[in-house]
Amino acid sequence: MSKILRINTKEKSYDIQDAQGDLASLGGRALTSRIVLNEVPATCHPLSKHNKLIVAPGLLSGTAAANSGRLSVGAKSPLTGGIKESNAGGLVSQKLGRLGIKAIVLEDKPENNAFSLVVIKKDSVEILPADEYVGLGNAETMKRLWEVYGKRVGVMSIGPAGEQRLTAACINLADTNGRPGRAAGRGGLGAVMGSKRIKAIVVDDGGTDKVPLADPEAFKAANRRWVEILNSHPVTGQALPTYGTAVLINIINEAGALPTKNFRFGRFEHAQDISGEHVTELIEKRGGKTKEGCHPGCVINCSNVYHDKDGKYLTSGFEYETIWALGADTTIKEIDDVAMLDRLCDDIGLDTIETGVTLGVAMEGGLIPWGDGKAAIDLVKKVATGEPIGKIIGNGAVFTGQALGVDRIPIVKRQALPAYDPRSVKGVGVTYSTSPMGADHTSGYAVAPNILKVGGDVDPLKKEGNVELSKNLQIATAAIDSAGLCLFVAFAVLDTEDGVQTIVDMLNAQYGLSLTPDDVIKLGISILKDEHEFNSRAGFTKVHDRLPDFFKEPLPPHNTTWDFTEEELQPAKHFD
């Protein structure tokens, strides 16, 4: 896997070259962030011709390594104004890996509004008119593309939100059923793809050989051990396949950290109604699937397919952050309304976290009543039609708050906070504050034992130890994002003595390297340095690490406040 495919969206031309210099050894987030740092002027407008959209499989993607099919998408974010890497499952990452493509780079920008479709095959790259797909939702777009190019091709597309270049727009990826259940959700990258007038990218790896391995036997042995580690751990082998990520609803609610009613309370009285346990019960009763991988080769299967009360498909990839944002944060307690909102977001191409928080802000501003699922559904539908109120909602929480005169807008670096109140889980608050991505829970998701020097005795309600913990989580996460591995592998790795070594063994066997676990940590640090450097050039300083002032209000039930100063947070960004 060594080629970089550059597509000039203005000229409708392309160029494929071997990756040169420092890019040759990078993958996933490490590669997208390095290209953004090196090639995108940090001060450019994110929707201008100077921005680039980079799509990169992880280093292990395309091989048989379990859970290695995650895709990184990077650019300067139109939502935050800083660097962005958004990560997703789907079919594209592994197919790019098998085609030997390290990255697709969308460059420049057309001067008219005509959208194109990019079709990548083993021996060809085509940039075709996409007129017939313009205006369609992601579901219909993917359905038609599978009809034309064959079932199981990888598809990443934008819906009406991305076409309108709205800053809550995401890029959706076809899941294993051809539905838009996967998303590179955060940071408005769908708007960047829309600015390049690319409606969809189709990736067909038909006719390709297996990814070459430097030492096939060693790779096979390491992957066997890898699968064993994942299957035998209670998180990856039992809880996630049974309840999905929404198993967290009850737990985070119990901890008093489930942001409720636009971050007013840490508990939602109807948490049980939107919990993973309840969702699983309904799936078992109505049909659907309680477990599904977000990409082929996943052995965790934390995704799902959710049906309505009549047993008909409603949505898929119905996960914790989505259910929280569209449920507890808006106080919508009817799980079927929450599922319909998820379906609409997937089809229109909206980030579910940003949209849920935006709906909470809209309720705060009196646009629709608190907890009114039907009114929320009608409002989100307006994003697709392009009417002014839809454009306001589709531009996210800050824009909507300004439009409605709201002073309670839960964001960092203009990106909506995810599903954990930083007053009750202070470590995640440090990540929201200091991550180069803006408020982002996945930036500090992974844990590796050799860097976990704190943790066991950390008190989520106190400051002590949480800055160091967040920093270590951010480093490990960046490294895992570069390998193309799912972040959920991290907890099996944490509890397994040879977990990190097994990942390193797979990388070494694939590329003929002799990396050590320390090299993986160095990679994580180098990624964060790149990202902070870009943000610094873009004008970000420590004042952008502030949480909104209302987080100084006590949060029931613990009545804790956000009490870090900017200076106290800065060590999370220092790596020397």
Partner: protein, 97 residues
């Protein structure tokens, strides 16, 4: 006697349900001086079934004393994400073992 509010999550819900035991927002009377270990002793759970115990929203040892009005929840192994670390579930002996 003290009255507590009890919840069980994840697999523990199915386990208690199979024994026809309530598991969500249940008010239970416990003897004075009882601990969480005493509370769960008669529930047919096995060592290793519980990874963490919440008392009033904080992770506490399983031998913590219960008080009138406490809100108690039991969580099995399998909490995803970094929350086992961030919420303090790791590091101290807090299980049935």
């Amino acid at each position: 006697m003290a009255t507590i509010l009890f919840n069980a999550f994840s697999f523990l819900q199915k386990k208690l349900k199979s024994q026809l035991r309530p598991y969500a927002n249940v008010r239970i009377e416990v003897a004075d001086g009882a601990t969480v270990r005493d509370l769960v002793a008669g529930m047919g759970l096995e060592p290793g079934d519980i990874e963490a115990v919440f008392i009033n929203g904080c992770v506490e040892p399983i031998d913590s004393l219960l008080h009138h009005g406490d809100r108690v929840a039991i969580v099995p192994p399998g909490t995803p994400g970094p929350y086992r670390v961030l919420l303090g579930m790791l590091g101290k002996p807090k299980t049935l073992k």
